[in-house]
């Protein structure tokens, strides 16, 4: 039942939160106009000169921007693909383990990295991949000469993708484990009676049963094609690996905050936001259409 009195209360309950969103999210959206100016902070947005698409033209002409876009796509797409394959495989494997206490312990351990910050993990992985770290010690046993992996363009992307999978696969598996739990045990029994072995059960029962979840998660991942992981790369990269590890977000940061090229940085950021907006909208639309997924 509607009542004007209650609606006044409802609006009052919304007002502070919406106010914060207006100030810190909506107002900055209008701030993107500085991408079309030569913005000078002292003159403000109204006083700075309009330059049209100058910064966008410069952006597409710069080889370093093309490189940054390529790095972003390579790293983000690799992460997206592996962050589906690895959690699914892990969930299937874990489901095959019948010793419950061991299962609990493994779960507790693999979920943990998700909750640790990249700042901390950055220090830990820098130790591990350093000239005298574990990786070089282990490979040394096989006669591989030590290398500085964190500053090697040949290794950096692999480290970024691998350590990201390491951090997220356990937590990412939860959703597939939940889907596996919903499988009717009778189906497994029927398969066993029909003489299906372990691999046949996985292939013909488990995987088809979680197929819709896999498709849904893949669709939703489409929105992060330009998100290669700022926090991680920022805490692990250095100028020596810009060629393979610099991504749009780190580039925007350096141009904007370090070099104070406000307008140019905003132009690059806007390019990313606009494409991401289209991709996320597309992925939600697809997820909604084919999987009845809704967020609200």
């Amino acid at each position: 039942m509607r009542s004007v009195k209650n609606e006044i209360y409802y609006n009052a309950m919304m007002v502070i939160g919406v106010g914060f969103l207006l100030v810190f999210s909506i107002v900055p959206m209008f701030g993107v106009i500085i991408a079309f100016q030569d913005f000078v902070p002292a003159r403000g947005m109204l006083g700075s000169a309009w330059v049209g698409l100058k910064h966008f033209n410069r952006m597409f002409a710069l080889a370093e921007v093309r490189n940054v876009i390529r790095n972003t796509l390579v790293i983000a797409l690799s992460k997206i693909i592996l962050n589906i394959i690895v959690p699914v495989s892990f969930a299937v494997l874990l489901n095959e383990l019948k010793i419950i206490p061991v299962k609990r312990v493994v779960q507790t351990v693999v979920y943990l990295p998700h909750f640790l910050s990249w700042v901390i993990l950055g220090i830990m992985f820098t130790n591990i991949f350093s000239y005298t770290g574990i990786v070089n010690q282990v490979l040394g046993l096989f006669g591989v000469p030590p290398q500085m992996y964190m500053i090697s363009n040949g290794a950096f992307r692999g480290i970024i993708i691998g350590t990201d999978v390491w951090k997220t696969f356990g937590y990412g598996a939860i959703i597939y484990l939940a889907a596996i739990t919903n499988i009717d045990p009778n189906v497994y029994e029927a398969a066993a009676i029909d003489g299906a072995g372990r691999w046949q059960r996985i292939w013909y029962v488990t995987l088809p049963s979680i197929q819709s979840t896999i498709v849904l998660m893949s669709t939703l991942a489409l929105g992060s094609v330009l998100n290669a992981g700022f926090d991680q790369i920022f805490t692990m990269y250095s100028p020596l690996v810009y060629a393979t590890g610099d991504i749009i977000d780190t580039y925007v940061y350096r141009m904007g905050i370090t070099k104070m090229q406000y307008s140019f940085s905003t132009a690059v950021g806007l390019f990313k936001s606009a494409i991401s907006f289209i991709l996320i909208t597309l992925s939600y639309t697809l997820a909604n259409k084919f999987a009845d997924y809704t967020i609200f």
Binding site: R2, N6, E7, N11, M13, M14, G17, V18, F20, L21, V23, F24, I26, V27, P28, M29, G31, V32, P41, L93, L94, E96, V102, V105, V106, V109, V110, Y111, F115, L116, V119, G122, I123, M124, N127, Y131, T132, I134, Q137, M148, G170, Y171, I175, A178, F230, D231, S238, P239, G256, I257, T266, G269, L270, S276, F277, I280, D292, Y293, I295, F296
Partner: protein, 292 residues
């Protein structure tokens, strides 16, 4: 099915190995932090401390900056969780009403979802924070991300599951929505609220970037920002002008044990709340991701 076959052993071994791999960086950092400086820098430490000592931890205790940063992070978590969770609880209730009861509902909803899909970017957001005079204050770490649309939607979906009949009698008795939120919805949603509180807590504890861009005075930096600043032992300009050999030499004298000890200590609060988190995050994740 009941007998333990060869493949069961393979699976068990594989899973134990996977679990172990997840602990390697942490065990290694603990060992390094408890080792002798030179032994650690020479790469003699794997999982067992070499020449066991707690010098790195003593150094942390003596150094005032670490605990000052720790204190800033605690304050940030307290403010961030109370404001963030408070706002989500407040907004999730009216948003759980249908547009027939609350006509503005969908307008707010679209506005909120839009902020999830698009953002103004780094510099425009920075300019807003700066113009509001929040630079170098704790508020710059708390207010810009105060409203978590995602958490609000999780709570809203939970609220939708609460039968309307529960509040109808209270409404007839003349209770206002604020009283109903306090007396009916909050008690029922306790577990969901606890879940988002824990996630918000971990988020604020781990976040370092806002401290990096909005806080210029070292004394006011939160812990993760402070630690991130340390791990960069060489400035980017220095590094660009050095040969790999020079960098190796420079990095060898950097304080590996000290930095590892800081990483371990800053992990402690997360480890403490982890058992509670684990109780909740399965429900939290499923609530958020597979609604319907």
């Amino acid at each position: 099915m009941n007998k333990f076959r060869m493949s069961d052993y393979v699976i068990l071994a594989a899973l134990l190995l996977i679990g172990f791999v997840c602990l390697v960086p942490i065990l290694n950092a603990i060992a390094i932090s408890l080792s002798d400086k030179t032994a650690a820098a020479m790469g003699e430490v794997v999982f067992l401390p070499k020449k066991f000592n707690t010098a790195a931890y003593d150094e942390i205790v003596k150094e005032g900056r670490f605990f000052r940063a720790f204190g800033v992070s605690i304050r940030r978590v307290l403010l961030g969780v109370s404001i963030g969770v408070g706002l989500s609880v407040m907004m999730a209730y009216p948003l759980s009403k249908s547009p027939r009861v609350f006509r503005m509902r969908n307008v707010y909803m679209w506005l909120m979802v839009f902020t999830m899909l698009f953002n103004g970017g780094l510099i425009p957001t920075y300019l807003v924070v700066k113009n509001l005079g929040l630079i170098n204050t704790i508020w710059s770490l708390v207010l810009p991300g105060a409203v978590s649309v995602y958490n609000t939607i999780i709570l809203m979906n939970f609220n939708k599951g609460i039968p309307a009949s529960l509040e109808e009698s209270a409404l007839i008795d003349g209770a206002n929505p604020l009283q109903i939120l306090g007396a009916i919805y909050i008690p029922l949603a306790k577990a969901s609220i606890a879940t988002i509180a824990l996630f918000t807590m971990v988020h604020h504890w781990n976040e370092f970037f806002l401290g990096k861009i909005y806080i210029n005075t070292l004394d006011q930096q939160p812990l993760q920002t402070y630690i991130q600043g340390l791990s960069v032992t060489l400035t980017t300009q220095q590094m660009a002008n050095m040969t790999p050999e020079e960098i190796i030499r420079k990095l060898a004298v950097s304080n590996v044990t000290f930095n590892s000890a800081k990483a371990i200590v800053s992990m402690v609060p997360v480890i403490i709340v982890y058992p509670f988190l684990q109780r909740f995050f399965v429900t939290g994740l499923v609530m958020g991701a597979v609604k319907e």
